[in-house]
Structure formats: structure tokens, C-alpha cells
């Protein structure tokens, strides 16, 4: 039996059936059954469990979202260089298939667990609960979750993270926040990445940043380049403050 959620399934399963008590209205011939549940609720309940566990274990969990190629793995790699001497760091990385990211990040000598989602476009709280079985939670300060590269679907799934961060590379275009607002609406921080490309693009920083602020008023906005290291310090300072 799965301890995280009682699902009775090995890892990667995701059928979670919960039996609630419905009220029935019985008519003479047909029968109406009230359901009264949210389909996203199962995920929210498991996310709340994860969040409580992270709080108890004093782990800052950062869910990193963004398109494929936004630079999530490079950012993490750079971040590890900055933080790994001062913090005990774990990484969960999600991809449809392969273990490329895990290999890249494991070179940094931190604990990395790769979730292969198969054909599923996002990580959910259930997958995270099982991934946590691969970590010694008492020996972690920061857990990064690199979500499946996708600017749409992961937005709908709370993982129980402490903070949600969206990485948008400037090569993707300044119109993306207004076209994909959902993912930005839940972000605590947005990192505009690959800013070393700026001279070669017409990226309109002011438009992107204004739109992001409109979608999420309280968001923390940062500009970074994992290649040159620009902005990495501010980003790491922001992370370090979360652990206090």
C-alpha cells in the first residue's frame, strides 16, 4: 500500500478513487445522482499533504515551469554551482522519456530523481509524493522540481510546492505571457532567461514585464542568463531568503 496517498499502486499510477457520500434524489422512473466534487480536487488534496510534509521537514520546494528549451535545466545547473556548498539540495525532474536531465544534474553531486511521465504532459502531486520516497527528507533544505517542458498543462496541477517559478526565455517572444496567462497567474517569480541573446532579438522587455505584472501583481521578476551568469546571484539570493 502506498503510504503517501493510500492508493495501493506502485509508482507512476494515478488513478485515485475517493468515495464520497452523495445525496441521492430518487424519482419514480429515472434517478439523479449528485456528485459535488472537483476533478482537480484529488490533486489538490495530495498537494496539501505534500505541502504539509515539506513544512514539517523545513524543505523549501520550488516548482519550475516553462516551455521545452526555456533553459530550466541550465538554470538549475548554474543554481547548484552557487548554492550547493551552503544548502542540501535535491532535484526531481520530469520529462516524457529519457534521463538526460538527471545525468546532466547528477554530475553536480546532488540527489536527482527523474520522473518519466510517458505520454503525460505535466507532473501531478501524486507523482511527487512517490518521487519523495527516493529522498532522505531530513537531509534536504531545498527541493527543486523541474516540471515537464510545457507552457500550458502544468499550470493546472499544484504539487504542494512552496514557490512556483516560471522560466520564459526571451527567444520565445514577449507576447507569450498574454497568450499563455494561466501559467503566469500562479507564479511567485518569473525569470526571463537567455538575456545574453537580447542583442540578437527584438524582445520587448517592457511589454513582457508589464503583461506579467498585470497577470500576477505580486510576482517577483528577474532577468537571468545561465550562460554568462548575469542575474544568477539575485535569483540565488531570492532562493536563500526562502530558507530563512
Amino acid at each position: 500500500m502506498c503510504e503517501s496517498c493510500g492508493c495501493g499502486q506502485p509508482e507512476a499510477g494515478k488513478n485515485m478513487s475517493v468515495h464520497e457520500h452523495e445525496h441521492e434524489h430518487i424519482h419514480n422512473h429515472d434517478k439523479k445522482v449528485d456528485l459535488g466534487f472537483d476533478l482537480l480536487e484529488e490533486n489538490r488534496k495530495l498537494a496539501a499533504k505534500n505541502r504539509e510534509l515539506f513544512r514539517k521537514k523545513k524543505i523549501v520546494t520550488v516548482n519550475i515551469l516553462g516551455s521545452p528549451g526555456a533553459g530550466k535545466t541550465s538554470l538549475l545547473s548554474k543554481t547548484l554551482d552557487e548554492l550547493k556548498d551552503n544548502f542540501r539540495i535535491g532535484i526531481i525532474t520530469g520529462d516524457l522519456t529519457g534521463d538526460e536531465d538527471m545525468k546532466r544534474l547528477a554530475r553536480k553531486k546532488v540527489v536527482v530523481h527523474q520522473i518519466q511521465t510517458g505520454r503525460v504532459c505535466h507532473l501531478d502531486a501524486h507523482m511527487i509524493a512517490h518521487a519523495l520516497e527516493h529522498f532522505s527528507l531530513d537531509e534536504l533544505d531545498i527541493l527543486f522540481i523541474e516540471n515537464v517542458g510545457n507552457l500550458v498543462c502544468p499550470a493546472a496541477f499544484d504539487l504542494g510546492e512552496t514557490k512556483r517559478v516560471v522560466v520564459l526565455s526571451i527567444a520565445e517572444g514577449a507576447d507569450k505571457p498574454s497568450k499563455y496567462p494561466e501559467i503566469f497567474s500562479g507564479a511567485d517569480a518569473v525569470l526571463l532567461s537567455k538575456i545574453d541573446f537580447a542583442p540578437y532579438t527584438d524582445f520587448d522587455f517592457s511589454r513582457a514585464e508589464t503583461d506579467i505584472h498585470r497577470i500576477r501583481f505580486t510576482v517577483e521578476l528577474m532577468r537571468v542568463s545561465s550562460r554568462t551568469g548575469d542575474g544568477i546571484k539575485s535569483w540565488c539570493d531570492w532562493l536563500a531568503r526562502l530558507t530563512k
Binding site: D30, V33, D34, C121, A156, R214, I215
Partner: protein
């Protein structure tokens, strides 16, 4: 099984179908009709994709083809400055009363299963 990316609407649809069938079969249903749902404009769920996934998922089930009835709910935000509520379908709008972008979502991120109707087996 189709070899394509399984967008989240597919897993939501197949979990939902399994759940309804379970509920209905426990009650001795022979046919399920009139499944009512409410989906918010900021739920992160595409209604069209969900409908399509649902229509594929109910083949060989006791759910009738035209059973699914979805009410689409437009998101509503509440202004943090003037406390008024306003329609904010895509989550991009400023408060129409005071112009502030400081706001909290009141509704629109739900994917709510309301009810279904069933016909019972003849005993």
C-alpha cells in the same frame, strides 16, 4: 492505444468516466445520461479537449453519447484595493472600477462535477 501525447484532459476524462461508472453501477444503472459539469475559464482545462477525450473514453461504456453537459464559467476576480468583484475571463483584466491589477481570483479555476442521471436495470 493511440500513440500521441496524453494531454491532461485525457487523464482527467478517463478518471472521471471510471468514477461515474463506479457510482452508477453500485446503484444498478443500465444507462447514464445528463452528466452535468462546470468548468472555469481559468481551470487550465480545455473544454474542447476534454469533450473529445470524454467522447473517446465512453466507447463501450454505459454512458450515452450525448450525456456530457458542460457549463463554462467565466472567471471572477476581486479587487484588493476597492473590494469589488468583476469578470476576469482570462485573468488579464484590471479592476474596471479603480484600475488596479492587484486582485484575487474568486471563481473560475474549478472543474466541478455536478450530477448525472441514470436508468436502472429492470429487475
Amino acid at each position: 492505444m493511440e500513440e500521441k501525447l496524453e494531454m491532461h484532459e485525457w487523464s482527467l476524462a478517463s478518471d472521471f468516466i471510471a468514477r461515474i461508472e463506479e457510482e452508477a453501477k453500485q446503484r444498478g444503472a443500465s444507462k447514464i445520461t445528463n452528466i452535468k459539469m462546470k468548468i472555469g475559464s481559468l481551470s487550465g482545462v480545455s473544454v474542447e479537449a476534454f469533450k473529445f477525450a470524454f467522447s473517446v473514453g465512453i466507447k463501450e461504456s454505459i454512458i450515452s453519447e450525448d450525456a456530457l453537459k458542460i457549463e463554462e464559467i467565466s472567471a471572477v476576480s476581486k479587487c484588493s484595493d476597492c473590494d469589488k468583484e468583476f469578470s476576469d475571463t482570462m485573468g488579464l483584466d484590471a479592476c474596471p472600477y479603480c484600475g488596479s491589477y492587484s486582485k484575487k481570483l474568486v471563481s473560475g479555476n474549478e472543474m466541478f462535477a455536478v450530477s448525472f442521471e441514470m436508468e436502472e436495470k429492470d429487475v
